[in-house]
C-alpha cells in the first residue's frame, strides 16, 4: 500500500510543514468542537429550562387560570395605602373555602366570569381588617394565602385525570401566593358619647277655633274665680292671644298651674313638652392612621409528600437535608434561593401564623412558574388556606410522549376550561437571550462549523499542493524508479492522513480546552418564560403588586464535550487529511516520470 517508514520519515523530518498543516486542521476541528460544545450547551440549557415538566417526572400540568382584569390591577401599590384601602372587607385567612370554586362538577364548568369575580374577591380578601389583629399598639404578624390566578379543582379531579388512558400517574398540588404582614396594630377608632342634653323648641301652636277659645276662656275664668276671684278675669283673653308671640317663659307661668292646663287644647299641651335627646355612643372611623405595617409576599405550594418522583418538586432536587418524613404535617422544604435570602437552613424553622414548621431540607426546583419558596405537605397548606380537599394544579405523567396530544385533548374534555401545559407549549412561550443564542447557534453555528471546516480543509489542501509541487523531483524520481501512480498517490495520502491524525489529536485538545474555557467563563443567558407562570406568581397583579407574570432566570452556558464530539472532530481532521491528500495526490499523479530528469536547478 504505502511505505510506513517513508511516511513517518517524511512527517518527522519535515515536521515544520507537518505541524503547520496539522495546526490548520487542528484549529478548524477545535473551533468546530467549540461550536458543537456551545450548541450542545445551549441545547442542554434549553432542555433544562424548557423541560421543567420532564425534570419533575411530569409531562403535562393542568391548571385553570383567570386572566387578571385591568381594573383590579390598577390599585395603588404603597404598602400603607394597600393595607387599608379595602378596610371593612373580608377577613383574612383565605376567606373560606367557598371562594375556591368547585368548577369541575356540574354543567357550568368553564371559568366563568362569576368564578373569576369570586377568585378576584378571594384574592382581595387579603386586605387586612386591622380590628381583628389585636389591641392597638401591639405587634402583629399574619400570613395570608391566596390562590392567585388559579381556580382550584377538588381532589377528585386528580383521580379523574389519572383514569384517562395513557396516563401513568396524576398528582395534585396547591400553589399559593402568601402575603406576610407585620407591624404595630394602629389605633383605628375612637369612641364618642353623644346625647343627654335637653333641647327646647319654639313652635307656633295651632290657631284655636272661636268655640275652642270660648270654652277655654270660660274654663280658665272659672279656675281663676276659684283661686283669685273675678279681679283677674280681664286678662284671660290677652293671655290666649299672647301665646302667638311665642314667649314661652310667660306662658309657662300660667301653665305651671295644673288647673289651668286642663283648660288647654291637646295641641297646645304637646308643644309645651320638654324634648330629651336619647344618649348614645358612636364608634367612628378615623382617617387611616399611619402605621409601620409592612407586607412581604412569597409563594408556597402543597405537594404530595409521599411521592418522591413526581410533583412540583422531587427528591432528586433535594440539595441538603432530607425529604419529608412519614409524618410530614409540620415539615417544610425550602427553596434554596429563598433560604439564602432569608438565611434559612435545613433543621431550622419557619413560623407561619404562630405555628412553627421544621425545615427538613432545601430543594432546588427547576425553572418553572411552579417554583415556590416553601413547600408544605398538601394537607397542611390546604388547612392553612382553608381549602381542604382542593388542589389547583394536576401534574400528569404519561406512558409515551407521543400520547401527549391525545391526552391533552382528553383532559380538556374531562376538565373543560382547564389550561393544559405541555413541555412544548412552555417552550413556545420562552424568550430571552438563551433563546436568541440557541437560535443563533442553530442557524449560524452549523453554517459556521461547516465554513470553518471547509476553510481548514482548503488550507490543508493548499499546503499539501504546495508541498507536492516542491517535491516534483522527488515524486518524479519515485515514478522513474518504478513507483506506480497509485503508489505515489497513496504515499502522499498516507502522509496527509498522518497529518490529519496529528491535527485531530491537537484539535481535540484545543476543542476540549475551548469548551473548558467556555464552561469556566460560563456567560449567563437569561430566559424569560411568560407561559411558565402557571403558579401563584401572577397574584401580584391582582393585589396591585408589581408582578409581571413572567419568570426570568439566568442559566450559565456550558460547553459539554461528548465522546461523539471528539470522534466527530477526529474524523473531521482525518477527512481533512484525506481531502488534502486527494489534492496532493491528484497533483502528484499528474507529474510525468520524466520530470525527474529535468533540470530544476
Amino acid at each position: 500500500m504505502f511505505s510506513l517508514s517513508y511516511v513517518s520519515r517524511e512527517l518527522r523530518r519535515r515536521w515544520g510543514r507537518t505541524l503547520v498543516t496539522a495546526l490548520g486542521l487542528a484549529a478548524g476541528v477545535g473551533l468546530v468542537m467549540g461550536i458543537i460544545g456551545v450548541s450542545e450547551g445551549l441545547s442542554a440549557a434549553q432542555n433544562r429550562v424548557l423541560s421543567p415538566l420532564g425534570t419533575v417526572g411530569t409531562d403535562i400540568i393542568v391548571t385553570r387560570t383567570v386572566a387578571p382584569t385591568t381594573n383590579q390591577s390598577t390599585t395603588t401599590t404603597t404598602t400603607t395605602t394597600h393595607a387599608f384601602n379595602g378596610f371593612g372587607g373580608g377577613g383574612g385567612g383565605g376567606g373560606g373555602g367557598g371562594f375556591f370554586a368547585r368548577g369541575v362538577s356540574g354543567a357550568a364548568t368553564d371559568a366563568t366570569s362569576s368564578q373569576a369575580a369570586a377568585l378576584l374577591n378571594n384574592n382581595a380578601s387579603v386586605i387586612t381588617d386591622l380590628a381583628k389583629l389585636g389591641k392597638p399598639g401591639t405587634q402583629f404578624t399574619h400570613d395570608f394565602f391566596v390562590p392567585g390566578t388559579l381556580i382550584t379543582f377538588p381532589s377528585v379531579a386528580v383521580s379523574d385525570v389519572a383514569r384517562i388512558p395513557g396516563v401513568t400517574s396524576a398528582v395534585g398540588a396547591l400553589s399559593l401566593q402568601a402575603l406576610h404582614e407585620s407591624g404595630t396594630v394602629p389605633t383605628i377608632t375612637d369612641t364618642v358619647k353623644t346625647g343627654g342634653q335637653t333641647i327646647s323648641t319654639t313652635v307656633k301652636p295651632p290657631t284655636l277655633t272661636p268655640s275652642q277659645t270660648a270654652t277655654e276662656r270660660s274654663c280658665i275664668l272659672s279656675v281663676l274665680k276659684k283661686s283669685f276671684g273675678s279681679a283677674a278675669g280681664g286678662t284671660g283673653g290677652g293671655t290666649g292671644r299672647g301665646s302667638h308671640s311665642g314667649r314661652g317663659g310667660g306662658f309657662s307661668g300660667f301653665t305651671s298651674n295644673p288647673a289651668v292646663e286642663k283648660c288647654l287644647t291637646p295641641a297646645q299641651i304637646s308643644y309645651q313638652q320638654k324634648v330629651l335627646v336619647p344618649e348614645q355612643t358612636i364608634t367612628r372611623v378615623l382617617k387611616p392612621p399611619t402605621t409601620n405595617t409592612s407586607t412581604a409576599s412569597y409563594t408556597v405550594a402543597g405537594v404530595d409528600a409521599s411521592n418522591e418522583t413526581t410533583g412540583l418538586i422531587t427528591k432528586a432536587q433535594l440539595v441538603s437535608g432530607t425529604w419529608f418524613t412519614s409524618d410530614p404535617a409540620d415539615e417544610v422544604l425550602v427553596n434554596t434561593a429563598y433560604a439564602s435570602t432569608k438565611k434559612l437552613k435545613a433543621g431550622g424553622t419557619v413560623t407561619i401564623n404562630a405555628v412553627s414548621y421544621r425545615i427538613v431540607g432545601l430543594v432546588k426546583p427547576t425553572l418553572t412558574g411552579n417554583v415556590s419558596d416553601i413547600y408544605f405537605p398538601l394537607p397542611t397548606i390546604q388547612s392553612l388556606a382553608s381549602a381542604p380537599g382542593y388542589v389547583n394544579e394536576v401534574l400528569v405523567s404519561v406512558k409515551s410522549s407521543s400520547d401527549v396530544g391525545a391526552i391533552t385533548t382528553a383532559i380538556q374534555k374531562e376538565l373543560p376550561g382547564a389550561t393544559v401545559l405541555t413541555s412544548k407549549s412552555l417552550a413556545d412561550q420562552v424568550s430571552g437571550s438563551l433563546k436568541n443564542a440557541r437560535k443563533l447557534a442553530t442557524d449560524l453555528g452549523g453554517a459556521l462549523a461547516i465554513v470553518v471546516l471547509l476553510a481548514a480543509f482548503l488550507i490543508a489542501g493548499l499546503l499539501t499542493l504546495s508541498s507536492v509541487s516542491k517535491r516534483v523531483r522527488e515524486i518524479g524520481s519515485l515514478r522513474a524508479i518504478g513507483w506506480t501512480r497509485g503508489e505515489v498517490v497513496r504515499q502522499v495520502m498516507a502522509e496527509t492522513v498522518g497529518i490529519g491524525i496529528v491535527g485531530g489529536l491537537i484539535g481535540v485538545a484545543i476543542g476540549v480546552g475551548v469548551c473548558a474555557v467556555i464552561a469556566a467563563v460560563g456567560p449567563g443567558l437569561s430566559v424569560t418564560a411568560s407561559g411558565l407562570a402557571v403558579g401563584a406568581s401572577s397574584v401580584g397583579s391582582l393585589v396591585g403588586q408589581s408582578t409581571t407574570g413572567t419568570v426570568t432566570t439566568v442559566v450559565h452556558l456550558t460547553a459539554p464535550v461528548h465522546l461523539a464530539t471528539i470522534a466527530l472532530a477526529f474524523a473531521g481532521a482525518l477527512i481533512g487529511g484525506l481531502i488534502a491528500g486527494a489534492a496532493g495526490g491528484w497533483r502528484a499523479a499528474r507529474l510525468a516520470p520524466a520530470s525527474a530528469l529535468r533540470d530544476l536547478g
Partner: protein, 254 residues
C-alpha cells in the same frame, strides 16, 4: 584500477535469489530503435525532438550519448528509460515494443528492468542511504526485511557500508551518487540509464563514479547508457553516439 579495489564487485549470485533476473546474454540486442520519432507541440508549434533515429544497443554495452542541450539527447534518454513514449517509429526493449504501452506497463518495466542515475542524484532527502535504496524495491513487492538487507548489501558493494543510516544531506556528492547507483541496481536491472551522472561532481569524484559504472558493466554485464557532454566521461565508454538536432550525427560503433 585502484578504484576497482575500493569498489567491490557486485555479487550477482546473491541477488538472483531475491529477484528474477532477465536474460543477460551479452551480444543480443537490448534496444532496437527504428525510425524513432518524438514530437512535442508547444503553443501551436511542433518541435521535432527526435527525427527518425535508428539504433541498436546490445546487452552489456556501455554507450555514451553526446550532444549539446536541445539536441534531443535528453528526449532519447527518456525514451530509452521508458519514461516517455515515441510519437513515431518503434523502440523495442528486451524484445517488447515500448511504443503504445500504457503508463502502468511502462512503470512496471522501469521497476523491474531499468535503473536510473540522475545528474542531481534525486535521493529522497528525508530517507537515509539504506532507505533510499530500499524504496526502489517497494513497487516490486519485496518484503521490507529483504529490502533492507539488499539495500545494505548494495551500499556495501559501492563502498558506503559505513554510511547506511546517513541522510543525503550528510553525504558528499560522490557518496550521494554512489547511493543512487546502488539504488539503480536494487532491482537487478538490464540497463542503467545515467543522465549526466557526473554533471554535479568535481573531476576526481566524477572519475570515481564513472569507474563504478564501468566496473558494473564489465563485471555484471549490465548495459549502461550515459548521457553526457563531458569528453572525459564519453571517453570511458566503449561506444560513443553523437546526437544533433534529433538525429544521430556519429556513432563510434558504426
Amino acid at each position: 584500477m585502484e578504484l576497482e579495489r575500493k569498489m567491490p564487485m557486485i555479487d550477482t549470485e546473491q541477488s538472483e535469489s531475491a529477484l528474477p533476473r532477465p536474460e543477460h546474454e551479452s551480444g543480443t540486442p537490448l534496444y532496437e530503435l527504428s525510425g524513432l520519432e518524438r514530437t512535442f507541440s508547444k503553443g501551436g508549434m511542433v518541435v521535432h525532438a527526435i527525427r527518425g533515429i535508428n539504433l541498436v544497443i546490445d546487452r552489456g554495452e556501455m554507450v555514451s550519448l553526446e550532444g549539446p542541450s536541445g539536441s534531443g539527447k535528453s528526449t532519447l534518454l527518456q525514451l530509452l528509460g521508458a519514461l516517455d513514449s515515441p510519437t513515431g517509429g518503434s523502440i523495442r526493449f528486451a524484445r517488447r515494443d515500448l511504443a503504445g504501452l500504457s503508463d502502468k506497463e511502462l512503470t512496471k518495466i522501469r521497476a523491474q528492468e531499468i535503473g536510473f542515475v540522475f545528474q542531481h542524484f534525486n535521493l529522497i532527502l528525508t530517507l537515509t542511504a539504506a532507505e533510499n535504496v530500499a524504496i526502489a524495491m517497494f513497487p516490486n513487492h519485496v518484503r521490507a526485511r529483504e529490502r533492507r538487507e539488499r539495500a545494505e548489501q548494495l551500499l556495501n558493494q559501492v563502498g558506503l557500508g559505513h554510511r547506511l543510516h546517513h541522510l543525503p544531506s550528510r553525504l558528499s556528492g560522490g557518496e550521494q551518487q554512489r547511493v543512487a547507483i546502488a539504488r539503480a541496481l536494487a532491482n537487478n536491472p538490464s540497463v542503467i540509464i545515467a543522465d549526466e551522472p557526473t554533471g554535479n561532481l568535481d573531476s576526481d569524484t566524477a572519475k570515481e563514479v564513472m569507474t563504478a559504472l564501468t566496473a558494473l558493466q564489465s563485471s555484471a554485464g549490465v548495459t549502461i547508457v550515459v548521457a553526457t557532454h563531458d569528453e572525459e566521461v564519453a571517453q570511458l565508454t566503449s561506444r560513443r553516439v553523437r546526437i544533433r538536432d534529433g538525429e544521430i550525427l556519429g556513432d563510434s560503433a558504426a
